[in-house]
């Protein structure tokens, strides 16, 4: 396993950083400071180096410091002692440029496999209570960064779905012939079937990690597992094409495709009962943390290196026991970045953390 960490980060005209270079520790880096001081911007910069784009916003020019016309993020990576650089620059006229060791990169997946990251945001804590789209996204986000094939299936599936739903509405409103659906159903089944298989395989692989992490976090022996709610199997019909045909009238009436991976869900279970209704708030948080750490371990297994863990303002949402649990588990993975408004939210007995005080675009390392 390669031990990877970001040893240095340079930010120039990025968000509220005019020009800053920071040296990081290979273990836990705690960024603390008031709200709005720019803690999350540092995590965002690292995320951009990893994924080629921000997960917070869609327009790159919003990342540029006010009144400037270009930004630059540069990271110095250390993988088992070997140094390499990744760089992302954006210029209002020329657009975005990604470089790895000075070589231009067009496929952002290549970046990710060099510098994998896993982000944990406060809203992730609602994964169990929130809508099913969040849980599907949890699975899809992992799969698209490790499989070009899956990303292609998913893109094509959503295009076919979009066209099919439009056609369903047209059939209802304009009385088009229902046979027109055949040429779309064929592709829907082809891609949908493959998407589901990929998701099952992923879940099979992360299941052991989930249980192991939960036991450590919650310090209790409840069994935590999940079940993939497959809308196809749920309808008691194991043949996709027959089910689509059976649902055809209903779908036309609703103008929407009622079965398939876009309607599936991930049901989290504690002691074989639905975590959504039976787990306490604290238990739910432990489950989500355990699931996220399972993602970290799974990516490490696939990519041969520990992903960098970005924990954004998560500590304030957790009680003391869970803070301890999270940090001690995170310590066993790779490099960790953690933001917090309260420095003492990070359990001190852990030792190895390095602290950075952030104040309005300036960063001070506190050794």
């Amino acid at each position: 396993m390669i031990f990877l960490f970001i040893s240095k980060l340079l930010l120039s005209n990025f968000r509220n950083y005019e020009k800053t270079t920071i040296s990081f520790s290979s273990n836990i880096n705690v960024l603390y400071g008031r709200n709005g001081s720019g803690k999350t911007n540092v995590l965002e910069a690292i995320n951009i180096l990893s994924r080629g784009k921000s997960q917070r916003i869609t327009k790159d020019n919003e990342l540029i410091m006010l009144d400037k016309d270009a930004f630059l993020i540069k990271g110095l990576l250390n993988s088992n002692g070997y140094e390499s650089t990744v760089q992302c620059s954006y210029n209002q006229g020329k657009g975005k440029k990604l470089l790895y060791n000075g070589q231009s990169i067009t496929n952002s997946k290549e970046l990710f496999s060099q510098l994998p990251t896993v982000s944990f945001l406060p809203e992730n804590l609602d994964l169990i209570k929130g809508g099913p789209e969040q849980r599907r996204l949890f699975l899809d986000d992992i799969l698209v960064v490790i499989s070009v094939q899956y990303k292609d299936y998913l893109n094509r599936y959503s295009k076919v779905l979009y066209q099919r739903n439009q056609l369903l509405k047209d059939i209802r409103k304009k009385g088009l012939t229902k046979d027109a659906l055949d040429s779309w159903d064929n592709q829907l089944i082809y891609y949908g079937d493959r998407i589901i298989k990929y998701r099952y395989k992923l879940l099979y692989e992360i299941r052991p990690f989930l249980q192991k992490n939960y036991v450590k976090l919650a310090d209790s022996e409840e069994t935590v597992t999940f079940q993939y709610t497959n809308t196809l199997a749920e309808q008691g019909e194991d043949q996709y094409d027959k089910l689509l045909l059976k649902k055809r009238e209903e779908d036309i009436a609703r103008g929407y495709t009622s079965v398939g991976p876009h309607r599936d869900d991930l049901l989290l279970l504690i002691n074989q009962q639905k975590a959504r209704s039976f787990a306490s708030q604290g238990q739910q948080r432990s489950i989500v943390l355990a699931l996220k750490l399972a993602e970290v371990e799974y990516l490490a297994k696939i990519l041969g290196r520990w992903p960098i863990l970005l924990l954004d303002d998560v500590m304030s949402e957790l009680d003391v026991q869970r803070r301890m649990g999270l940090v001690s588990l995170a310590k066993l993975t790779g490099q960790v970045f953690l933001t917090t408004t309260e420095k003492d939210h990070v359990p001190e007995e852990l030792g190895s953390a390095t602290y950075f005080f952030i104040d309005n675009g300036s960063i001070q390392r506190k050794d």
């Binding site: 070009v148 094939q149 292609d152 076919v160 066209q163 439009q166 046979d179 027109a180 064929n186 592709q187």
Partner: protein, 199 residues
């Protein structure tokens, strides 16, 4: 800002595909500084093309002679038909100088979100051709997009019962593209579209 007739010219040019406001402005001024003869030649070319270009009664390609030169070429195979999305695809196929059969141009693909259904394409004309002519093989060469595939499937459903041999162009690695050079997406699609080696 501009004289009314110039502004109007810019606006009309800006309606053309791929022409933004800046380009429209540049084209307008280019035309204004051209000689009267040059401008007239352009206008005549546009009007002539608009008046004379029609759909070929056979293949539905755009032509000014009916039937088009490809359909009336006696040296081409009459039994082989290649179905494409648009006239540009015919031009691309012709450039390779390998294909010696007939064409049929659909003028689009099925796309509900753009309001395009089978009845908006030249499919009725295709079926008519199949009943009048002795076609033995049809190659469906729509693009490998989900819309192109849906159109191919729709056509397959109509044509299969007629007992005509039906093929679909392959997709995958480009010729001369070394495996370590092609992008990942091309490679996964080539892997997906793999076929058995028969000897």
């Amino acid at each position: 800002m501009y004289a009314r007739s110039i502004a109007q010219l810019i606006e009309e040019l800006g309606k053309l595909p791929g022409i933004g406001p800046k380009s429209a402005q540049r084209l307008a001024f280019h035309l204004l500084f051209q000689s009267k003869e040059e401008v007239k030649a352009l206008i005549e070319a546009i009007v002539k093309a608009k008046e004379e270009v029609k759909y070929c009664s056979q293949c539905q390609n755009l032509t000014d002679i009916n039937p088009c030169p490809i359909c009336s070429d006696l040296n081409r195979e009459k039994w082989l038909l290649c179905v494409v999305e648009n006239p540009q695809d015919v031009a691309a196929m012709e450039r390779i100088r390998e294909y010696r059969g007939q064409y049929h141009v659909l003028h689009g693909v099925i796309s509900p979100m753009d309001g395009v259904g089978p009845e908006d394409l030249k499919i009725r004309e295709l079926l008519q051709r199949l009943s009048n002519q002795d076609i033995k093989e049809i190659i469906i060469a729509t693009n490998p997009t989900v819309e192109g595939e849906a159109t191919a499937m729709y056509l397959a459903k109509l044509i299969k019962p007629l007992g005509i041999k039906l093929t679909r162009i392959a997709r995958g690695l480009p010729e001369g593209g070394d495996i370590d050079y092609v992008d990942q997406l091309t490679l996964v699609r080539a892997l997906e579209g793999r076929r058995e080696i028969d000897n």
